[in-house]
Amino acid sequence: MRPFEITDHTADVGITAYGATREELFANAALGMLSIIGDPDTVAAKDTREVQVQASDPAALLAAFLGELLYLLEVEHFVFHDAVVETISETEVRATINGEPLAPHHDLHTEIKAVTHHGLRVEHVGGTWEANVLFDI
């Protein structure tokens, strides 16, 4: 199973993420978002951050979770490498984020302004978790 695919949009960029479990789906969506922002191979897992996010439903939860990673990047200048989801429910997720402080060699090329709710979807289809997320560039 592919972790994610990038989807086209006239002005912005989206992902379709997959996972055998809800945990894996969230982790793969984070990888997908990172691949839009920069080159994942330039980021190392040297440090960690703990995040805890709540929302009203599973789709909004995914958007809020990804939004949290953007916040870490923009305010704390912490670039994420991968996410390890510790616990997850319909409305709450707790995860350890591996990554490192932002540095010039990361060569981030795309600024994601926000995680939109347009066409936002989290579904369990034929034994696989699937999500669609569109980012505002």
């Binding site: 960029v13 090329h109 926000a114 347009h118």
Partner: protein, 496 residues
């Protein structure tokens, strides 16, 4: 595993719903086209543009917006329309506040008060041309741009609060500009009713070192030369001549605005049940303008809008410093006067006449520009009899325009016109199309110098990724939604 930047599934299907021709530049989506539409959709386009529009999902979004409670007359889209999130880009919707009309953060977008400003200079094209490489490098050094790049000025939370309450007037007092800049800014850069108290701590944090930063994506600083004047009298009144060098700045409210939209969208989603609202897209989540949530959003949105005007003001200051350094003359001697500054992602409370009645409306402009006609009291005194200046950036290879608002726009579109060229190609498709080419060299062959930070900035923003701005402006001008003053050609550009 291919997780590269250049992949990407092809774009989803286009629009195959009804689209009826009204005249040579207007098309209608009848209100029975989709369940829940309260008014028609109206799209401004000619034969060339409508074919591009059909291939995109934007018309579906025009129909979705027509479902907003309280929407008046029609859900409109300008000729630069393309697929967005919630509203289409190029979208316009006005809701009647007294009739329970709603405000939707999706009708403004994440980049609250993204907008453009235009500066004139005392320089002639021939004077600037030989030093363009050096000038663009100097501008690039002075203007913070790109992902994660902080500003040259850091503001305390108390100062941020002042910026959100007062906009550019506050930063001009601190030395970032001239008092007359404020007079030539839409709404004088300060929307009344801004309430920095309802802006989240998180938004404050995101804004802290971003006032005076360009950002990335489609934002830019461009040095241009006026190549054609259509209305010599109006141009002269605005200090514009053929061959003059001008500067255009395009940016918005940065992380602060993005966070305000994000916070507000969540708030609106949580009250949809309370107000019994059902809308076809989550991103359209809304609440009545006259409700605690509506007021809270507008208080925060206006704060972010004022922050955006202050951001463009500080960017202007940096650009002036760069020009002064390059030419060894004071910025006043170089002119660098602000012609005007317009917002193109905003919601405003305005009074308009609808079917003979004056109504108080919440006008959402999402990738659309206010274009008030001659005589309107909100136009600066020195331009009032001409109409409001409207600045239309095109792509970095073709052209940009200065227009004026018209009576026609007042009658038909609540004083609104287009905002740019509009994308026609996705970012992925643009990168694919640039494979094996050097966009930098192609621009250089046209005499345009480009400096950029992001690896794919030029590929994604290449001229072919956009509709022809000349055609877009031709349509709004033929439809009477604006009139042309002059056209500018790019000479040099910096991108984030």
């Amino acid at each position: 595993m291919a997780r590269g930047h250049k992949g990407g599934k092809p774009m989803a299907h286009g629009y195959d719903g009804p689209l009826e021709r009204i005249d040579e530049c207007r098309w209608r989506i009848p209100k029975d086209a989709e369940k829940g539409m309260r008014v028609d959709g109206i799209i401004y386009a000619d034969d060339r543009l409508i074919e591009l529009i059909r291939k995109d999902r934007a018309p579906e979004q025009v129909a979705n917006v027509a479902c907003l409670p309280g929407i008046v007359r029609a859900s409109y889209a300008m000729p630069d329309i393309h697929w967005g999130y919630g509203f289409c880009i190029g979208g316009l919707a006005a809701t009647d506040i007294e009739a329970g009309g709603v405000v939707s953060p999706g009708g403004v977008g994440y980049d609250i008060n993204c907008g453009v400003r235009l500066l004139t200079t005392s320089l002639r094209r021939e004077e600037a041309k030989p030093v363009m490489q050096s000038l663009i490098s100097t501008v690039y050094e002075h203007v913070p741009c790109g992902v994660g790049v902080g500003g040259r000025v850091r503001f305390s939370p108390a100062e941020e609060r002042e910026i959100m309450a007062r906009g550019p007037a506050f930063v001009v007092e601190r030395g970032f500009g001239r008092p007359e800049d404020v007079e030539h800014t839409e709404a004088r850069g300060c929307l009344p009713g801004a309430n920095p108290g309802v802006v989240s701590d998180r938004a404050y944090q995101r804004g802290q070192n971003q006032c005076g930063t360009l950002g990335a994506g489609n934002h830019f600083v461009e040095v241009q030369a006026v190549d054609e004047v259509y209305d010599p009298d109006a141009a002269a009144r605005m200090g514009i001549k053929v061959g003059m060098v001008t500067v255009m700045i395009h940016s918005g409210s940065r992380g602060l605005g993005h966070q305000v939209c994000d916070d507000s969208l969540r708030m609106m989603e949580s009250v949809m049940g309370k107000y019994r609202l059902q809308l076809p897209d989550r991103q359209l989540a809304a609440a009545p303008v006259d409700s605690p949530e509506g007021r809270k959003y507008l208080g925060a949105m206006r704060s972010a809008a004022n922050f955006a005007w202050a951001n463009r003001q500080i960017l202007t200051h940096h650009v002036r410093a760069a020009f002064a350094k390059q030419f060894g003359r004071s910025d006043e001697k170089l002119g660098l006067d602000l012609v005007y500054d317009v917002a193109h992602n905003i919601a405003k409370i305005e009074e308009h006449e609808v079917d003979g009645r004056k109504l108080k409306l919440c006008v959402h402009r999402k990738g659309a520009t206010r274009a008030f006609g001659p005589g309107h009291p909100d136009i600066p005194a020195d331009y009032r009899d001409l109409g409001q200046p409207v600045i239309i950036p095109g792509d970095m290879g073709r052209a940009s325009y200065l227009l004026l608002g018209t009576e026609g726009a007042m009658r038909e579109t609540f004083g609104t016109t287009c905002h740019g060229a509009g994308r026609v190609m996705s970012r992925r498709a643009a990168i694919r199309a640039a494979k094996g080419r050097s966009i930098k060299k192609e621009l250089a062959a046209k005499g345009i110098v480009a400096r950029y930070r992001g690896r794919y900035a030029l590929e994604e923003e290449q001229p072919d990724a956009y509709k022809d701005v000349n055609v877009v402006v031709d349509v709004v001008s033929r439809a009477g939604l604006a009139r042309k003053v002059c056209r500018m050609r790019p000479m040099g550009v910096i991108k984030g």
